[in-house]
């Protein structure tokens, strides 16, 4: 199989497709942070893919000069997991809004924690459904009234980072779209993490959310890594309980002070891909995407009688 050749090092991860997000949108920062991270890692552009669902966030893959799938509302995670498990060589980025990930796609968001496939989920949190004109997203607090909704929201909110922890993601971080360097650094660490990562990106929606504005966030966020004693990494089972509890407590911290940074990183839970090798020993060497399925004449390689021997009556 011939492969597309790219010059490493000088590769431009941003393509020339015009971005049509509103001026001031937090999504721009994510594109910048992702391209910075990929450049810094000197990533082979054929080894990384971007997968999104529907909404403003869904457009992200089109703006990146890497393979991209702009899929269905809520279903970015299943697509990403399919890609990752069929070809574990690939780095898989998922871009999804709060509605995409926690409304219509909440089941997949939770299930991915159990799987821990090794994908990186970027959850764009601006508390509104932007592309459909600003309805309340699952991250909007009860009683909040932003300008795009007719009355205060009568639905409660989900805390994405806390839900990610409870679901089993082994890397959970919260970032803020104005802190691009920190976000880019978190993305690099997430891409280097073996299990699945969830990065919640707090960001303004300048068009519809006049409550959680850039200034509103700026006044509240503080970086966890500024506290030198902050160590979210779990490297042995005995430190997990304490670090998990502290991560959860920190994730739930909201209001006048909002912590950003890496909340939790568990290095001991094996990813789904590793679990597969207990069943298919050569899985990493010859994953589903990289196998011979027929001989040179096009005939099957599978011996049905030997493989399904228990069905043979002899």
């Amino acid at each position: 199989m011939q492969k597309t050749v790219y010059n490493k090092g000088s590769y431009n991860f941003r393509n020339n497709v015009t971005i049509d997000w509103c001026p001031g949108c937090g999504d721009f920062a994510i594109v910048t942070a992702v391209t910075q991270a990929l450049s810094k890692m000197d990533m082979d552009p054929t080894k990384v893919v971007a997968i999104s669902g529907i909404g403003c966030s869904g457009k992200t893959p089109h703006y990146l000069n890497i393979a991209g799938a702009h899929t269905l509302h809520g279903r970015a995670i299943p697509y990403a997991v399919g890609v990752k498990l069929a070809n574990p060589d690939l780095n898989v980025l998922v871009m999804g809004g709060d509605g995409d990930m926690l409304g219509i796609g909440a089941g997949h968001f939770v299930a991915e924690g159990r799987r821990n496939s090794g994908i990186v989920v970027l959850l764009y949190n601006n508390a509104v459904y932007g592309l459909t004109k600003g309805q309340a997203a699952p991250t909007m607090p009860l009683g909040e009234k932003v300008k795009s909704i007719p009355r205060p929201s009568i639905l409660g909110k989900i805390n994405p980072s806390a839900l990610a922890l409870a679901s089993g993601y082994t890397f959970v971080a919260r970032a803020f779209s104005s802190e691009i360097a920190q976000l880019s650094d978190i993305i690099i660490k997430a891409l280097n993490h073996k299990g699945s990562s969830m990065i919640e990106v707090l960001q303004p929606c300048p068009t519809y959310n006049d409550v959680n504005t850039l200034d509103w966030y700026r006044k509240r966020v503080y970086k966890l890594e500024n506290d030198k004693s902050w160590d979210p990494e779990v490297n042995s089972a005995d430190e997990d309980e304490e670090k998990f509890s502290r991560a959860y407590e920190t994730a739930m911290t909201w209001g006048d002070k909002i912590p950003i940074g890496i909340l939790y990183k568990n290095n001991i839970i094996p990813p789904f891909t590793e679990r597969l090798t207990s069943i298919v020993p050569d899985y990493f060497k010859y994953p589903p995407a990289n196998q011979d399925i027929c001989d040179k004449n096009g005939y099957t390689l599978v011996d049905p009688f030997k493989t399904f021997n228990e069905k043979v009556i002899d």
């Binding site: 457009k59 997991v81 399919g82 060589d89």
Partner: protein, 629 residues
């Protein structure tokens, strides 16, 4: 030799192992067996049964009344009063003789009311004595076996309930006159994974043969034959085998009856045994099967895996397929090669979760919003399940589109001895990959057949979106590109229609100049083939137009057959004759006669024969079949 059998008992109560022993013994004795399993959506207790047929030639249908009925619970005696007739034998546990219908907790209220009415009509008491008297008065021989006594005398360590299945099977084998050696071989084979239980089970078998001996039944010794190795497969198994042979390396599923048996079998065979020496030097990994959180994830994860070039599929039934509709539309729009094996059961909604149906043809054809190309094919026997599963994966890759492979519950749960699998019957067709290094257009319009050069994640950089898109895969709403992309995608269906050989779309079985033409699809295929032979004996010359592919539809061929047929009868397991509807839609031809069944039970040859005669005799144009408990 043509024996029809019924083994009934509580779900989870050993009827499977009973039938298995009978199957194994007769298989090893050189006979063919054919059977269907009928069961409730229930884990333990409700009445289930296996309907079997044993013949020297390979049967393709089942028949009522049965020759022998084995009742492993009292319910069986009441549920199948009409499934036996004069000279049939009913085997039951003597303990059932004390059974009163007021104890029949697991018989459904309406069924119970019907049974009571029947007994009352015959002035019989509403208990076992009543139903046994019913049998006697209809010339049916009942054989009472003190199950506990026979078992305790031979295997006193018990518990006796563990051996009910073997005793039932043993008495059946003895009554049929199968020699003891083959019966023992069958038991040994059935328990080959549990060698410790072989000895006590053989003791029970001996006791069963002794018991039958003492009955003084005049039993003919059955001839036995040299048996070549054969595979005992059901439809689920066959599709799984075909998929793996066809290069499937990624399968997703969410548990649902009657589809998940396929995925469970594949989960058991993620490590593959290879055919040739040549395979030594090839890249051999194995199969990945993923149980997903729901069917939305199942279809979309399969789509995702397909983006990497892995042959990818999922399997589901009606309720799951409903959830998959959006993902199938996406696969159509973005040209993802994916196969969805669709096991139809009784609908609508949860319907009859464990019963048969062919009511999802319309849905499969019209699934997903918008207009996009897809291939819809259907299988009717084990060999077709195997080779069609291979072909389905080929079609998906070759035309870069979703392929829906229809199976019905009867076929999924049909047990059949398959004498041969030809590993060279279907070639694996690898699609043409993009060779353009830096300017790859995944959706290139520079194609005459609608198929753009294939590209995969991990090799090529390209984009894809469920929005209308340009050649690169970016979102567009440009009206001219929209038209061109719609036309490019739909062109693939024309290409497929041209390239796929006719025999993969529809087949005419039997004499071209027949007086009577059956039209059918799915599991009725082999039944109608048997029926054509039966009708021949009565000097009725019939043939069958058997449909395999509904999209693209073989309109011209169907027209050429039906245009000159004299009497046409459409046979389907649904209420609205959906295949006939597809024929009318594609050819304008309206079929006049129908044999339909929608009670969820498998069709049997006797009822189709009666219905056919009613139609031929002009008594009716529409026959609704009712067989089955």
């Amino acid at each position: 030799m043509d024996i029809n059998l019924l083994v009934g008992g509580p779900q989870g109560g050993g009827i499977d192992s009973s039938a298995n022993m009978i199957n194994m013994a007769f298989s090893l004795a050189g006979y063919y067996i054919f059977g269907v399993r009928e069961y409730h959506s229930n884990i333990k207790g409700r009445h289930s049964y296996i309907h079997l047929r044993i013949m020297r030639r390979r049967p393709g249908s089942l028949k009522y009344p049965v020759d022998i009925m084995v009742a492993l619970d009292p319910d069986t005696l009441f549920e199948h009063m009409h499934d036996v007739s004069k000279n049939s034998k009913v085997i039951y546990d003597s303990a059932f003789e004390k059974f009163d219908l007021s104890q029949a907790r697991m018989i459904l209220p309406d069924t119970l009311a019907r049974i009571k009415e029947e007994l009352s009509k015959n002035n019989l008491p509403l208990n076992a004595a009543g139903v046994l008297e019913y049998y006697h008065s209809h010339g049916i021989k009942t054989i009472s076996i003190p199950f506990d006594k026979v078992i305790n005398e031979n295997v006193p360590e018990g518990p006796s309930t563990r051996y009910y299945n073997t005793l039932g099977a043993g008495v059946t084998l003895a009554l049929l006159g199968l020699d003891m050696d083959h019966a023992i071989a069958g038991i040994k084979y059935a328990f080959r994974k549990k060698p410790a239980v072989i000895e006590p089970n053989v003791k029970i078998l001996n006791a069963a043969y002794d018991f039958v001996d003492k009955l003084g039944e005049n039993i003919a010794n059955l001839e036995t034959y040299e048996a070549k190795p054969r595979m005992l497969l059901n439809g689920n198994d066959s599709v799984a085998i075909g998929k793996l042979m066809g290069g499937l390396r990624f399968q997703t599923y969410y548990p649902i009856t009657p589809a998940s048996d396929e995925s469970n079998l594949l989960e058991n065979h993620e490590e593959i045994e290879y055919l040739s020496e040549e395979a030594e030097n090839l890249r051999k990994g194995g199969l990945v099967v993923v149980q997903t959180e729901d069917e939305l994830a199942a279809v979309n994860m399969a789509n995702g895996a397909a983006l990497t070039g892995a042959r990818s599929a999922t399997a589901t039934s009606g309720p799951g397929f409903s959830l998959m509709a959006e993902g199938i539309s996406f696969a159509g729009m973005t040209e993802i090669p994916v196969v969805i094996t669709f096991y139809q059961r009784g609908g609508p909604s949860t319907g009859l979760p464990t019963r048969n149906g062919q009511a999802d043809l319309d849905f499969a054809l019209n699934t997903g919003h918008g207009e996009f190309p897809k291939i819809v094919l259907s299988s009717g026997d084990m060999e077709e399940c195997i080779y069609d599963a291979m072909k389905a994966l080929n079609y998906a890759q070759k035309y870069q589109l979703p392929v829906i492979h229809l199976i019905d519950k009867t076929l999924a749960n049909t047990m059949d001895l398959v004498p041969e699998i030809d590993v060279k019957k279907v070639k694996i067709e690898i699609p043409e990959y993009n060779n353009d290094e830096n300017n790859y257009k995944r959706y290139s319009l520079n194609t005459s057949n609608g198929v753009s050069p294939y590209g995969v994640f991990g090799r090529d950089v390209f984009w894809m979106t469920g929005d209308e898109h340009d050649e690169l895969g970016h979102v567009t709403e440009d009206p001219e590109i929209r038209d061109k992309m719609m036309e490019k995608r739909m062109k693939k269906l024309e290409t497929a229609a041209m390239e796929i050989p006719l025999e993969d779309k529809a087949v005419l079985y039997g004499n071209k100049e027949a007086d009577l033409t059956f039209v059918t699809w799915g599991s009725q295929k082999t039944l109608i083939m048997d029926l054509i032979d039966e009708l021949k004996k009565e000097n009725i010359n019939a043939n069958m137009l058997y449909l395999k592919m509904f999209e693209p539809f073989p309109s011209e061929f169907v027209e050429s057959i039906l245009g000159k047929s004299k009497t046409v009868i459409d046979v389907e397991s649904n209420m609205t004759a959906q295949a006939a509807k597809a024929i009318r839609l594609n050819t304008g031809i309206k079929i006049d006669n129908y044999i339909l069944k929608y009670n969820g039970r498998h069709m049997t040859i006797d009822e189709v024969l009666t219905a056919t005669k009613n139609i031929i005799d002009g008594k009716s144009k529409m026959e609704v079949l009712k067989n089955g408990s």
